[in-house]
Amino acid sequence: MSFLPYALAAWLFFVGLYGVVTSRHLVHLVVCLGVMQSSSYVLLLAIGYRTGKKAPIFTSGVPVKLGAVDPVVQALTLTDVVVSVTATALILALVVEIWKRSGKLDPDSLRKKET
């Protein structure tokens, strides 16, 4: 049971990668990339988890002695999410440009046109 979160991260990564490789539509490809990125959030949060511990937020009444799950990986995940979102937006802008210039969204048809 204890390996399940890691297995989920691996599964998300490879399912997303399969989608990217076999994609027939650039927007679909970006979504698959998003699935791959989610695997890194799952992996980071799974690494920092401590059984029975709560979130690293010590409002009044929560003694510091209790401890918490690892806050560093949570901060890293936050950075990860922000970077993913901006990268996704930038790639989608590229997709819009491709569509405007070639009228096509299938990665395969783009390749054929060039060669």
Partner: protein, 240 residues
């Protein structure tokens, strides 16, 4: 490369990667048994050292504040990239009609604008006390503004967020963050060191530079999301 050879390459390369991936994962500790000292020490000391209750916020805006500056630069660069790509070849033609026809959606959607922005601002303001912060609250606030388009009309969204002002807010956010780092150099500390009075733990006036950096980041995030939506919606609104 045909689809067939690509799939074949993927199966072979993917299998090799999977073996390495699983091998790396077997080297990890059992789930729930993390022993990293860095996070443990911060959980113990951040509260008394920085007078904040949310340790993640203390890491994002203080202990690893320099990383967040890099993160914001990525945000900034991406927004510039999107604007360069999409603004370039756009002719200011006639706008498409973009009226939401359902009265119900318009009423509920426009009613939600105020509460959404308010929740977003609340999440930002209490980011270093309770779960939340500049990034989460910033996106929520910006989505409140985008509701003006989704439930109302594009023109209302544009009127509520004039491009010149949003550009200025974006620059102010990043600029304040950078300038605060330089200011801490000026008083003889390290870059982005926490040099302001730490205040009372558990109140809004706590954390020293954390609330300032939090607010600066919030401005940058709100403006970035609003600008990204501007650029994409502009594509939608001008006839191809």
């Amino acid at each position: 490369m045909t689809r067939r050879t690509r799939l074949g390459t993927f199966v072979a390369a993917g299998a090799a990667l999977a073996v390495l991936f699983v091998w790396a994962l077997t080297g990890l500790h059992a789930f729930g048994d993390f022993q990293g000292e860095y996070g443990r020490i911060l959980n113990r000391t951040a509260g008394s050292q920085r007078h904040v209750t949310n340790v993640v916020a203390a890491i994002v805006f203080d202990y690893r504040g320099f990383d967040t500056l890099g993160e914001e630069s990525i945000l900034f660069a991406a927004v510039i990239g999107i604007a360069l790509l999409l603004r370039e070849a756009r002719d200011e033609g006639e706008r498409r009609i973009d009226v939401v026809r359902s009265d119900f959606i318009r009423a509920v959607g426009l009613f939600a604008v105020g509460p959404t922005v308010l929740v977003g601002l609340y999440v930002i303001a209490h980011g270093y006390l309770t779960p939340g912060g500049a990034f989460q609250g910033g996106v929520a606030t910006a989505s409140g503004l985008v509701l003006l388009y989704a439930a109302g009309r594009y023109r209302a969204y544009r009127a509520a967020s004039p491009k010149a002002m949003v550009d200025l807010v974006e620059g102010t956010g990043i600029g304040t963050y950078t300038a605060l780092g330089v200011a801490s150099l000026a008083v003889g500390s390290a870059y982005l060191a926490n040099v302001v009075d730490l205040g009372t733990k558990g109140t809004l006036a706590s954390g020293g530079t954390i609330p300032i950096l939090n607010a600066a980041s919030a401005l940058a995030v709100i403006a970035a999301v609003v600008l990204i939506c501007h650029e994409f919606l502009e594509e939608l609104m001008t006839p191809a």
